[in-house]
Amino acid sequence: MAYGYLGQNTPNQTVNNSGVFSITDSADLESQGALGGSLELIEEQTYLGAVANIDFTSIQENKYDVHLMQYSNIQNSGGASADLSLRFYESGVLETASVYQKAFQYGSTGGSFGQDRSTSVSSILSIAGNYQNKEANGYIYFYNLGNSGKYSFLTMQTFFGHPTAGHYMKFGGGFLPQASVVDGIRLFNDNADNFSEYNIKLYGVKQ
């Protein structure tokens, strides 16, 4: 079914939805999830006051099998470098055991490169140095969070400041090797510092 297109050369899309729409077209397409782009904002969290944990607990894991998280200007309030870390909620219960696995490459503007990997760690990410005025910015893709028959994966890329060692890039992936329903995501500082700035957006990638 074509919707309200007035011209020619319709872009190649799953649903023919460019051009001018009637109110009916618009309502119909929106109900199908076919109107607009393919990144759908699930939740945005912005700093409103000091918190130690940032939880996303309504991630619509039943609707999306790929999620994208974009984070910017993450800073902590402590006097030392903290590692920004990430854990999953499985059916509402935060997984804190050393069951996560990860492999990341990092490199600094000062020329120091290295590996950050583990087969047994209690959180993923380990973005060091989200220090005051040394913010962390980046993105993470998540896969199969809501699938009870599959492991939960992530890949990410980031750039961040370090209190004493310039700035770093980091990329790689990790996973939770447990076939379970992940229905929440927690970001926190490994030294329990509060966050002093952040903006984080969680999107579903439309199927």
Binding site: P11, K150, F153
Partner: protein, 176 residues
Amino acid sequence: MSNLRLINETEVTSSVSSVDITDVFSADFDIYKITAETSSNSTSHFGANARLINSSGSVIPNSIYDRALWRMRIDTTFGEIRFQNDTNLESFFGTLDLNPEIATNVVYVFNPFSSSSYTFFLKQGMSLWSGFKASDKYIGVAKTTVSCTGYNVYSSNSNFFETGTVFRTYGLRVDS
């Protein structure tokens, strides 16, 4: 509204060793994004290799594919893998075997439809196979100016992709 436009979703529903995703690249977009998961019931691991499909619908199997990747193994030292003039982008959509040892990928493809430039690829993904676990950062190029409208993913050793394998192709729209 984001500028991602879903062009095609191809999901494997029966055992197949090769998947063609056709009629996705066109003059409508220059840059494409693909999210892909590859899954299998095979007990022996295999690579999900990739090739381009030309506008006649034929796979381009020629020795035009160069690749370089940084393999970040969870269990051991990282390493580089690179190859020139191959007939495919080897394991571009990951290495896998028996589910839940699958591969997940985010891919960007640049200028596949162009008849005046090569096609370039960027990928980041994570694969599990035979107890190994690795995150890959992968770059590739198809050294051809043939206009391409799709891509082919095939098993490196004739093992089968199974249900759970899905490729979603998006165009990055530029709104003037």
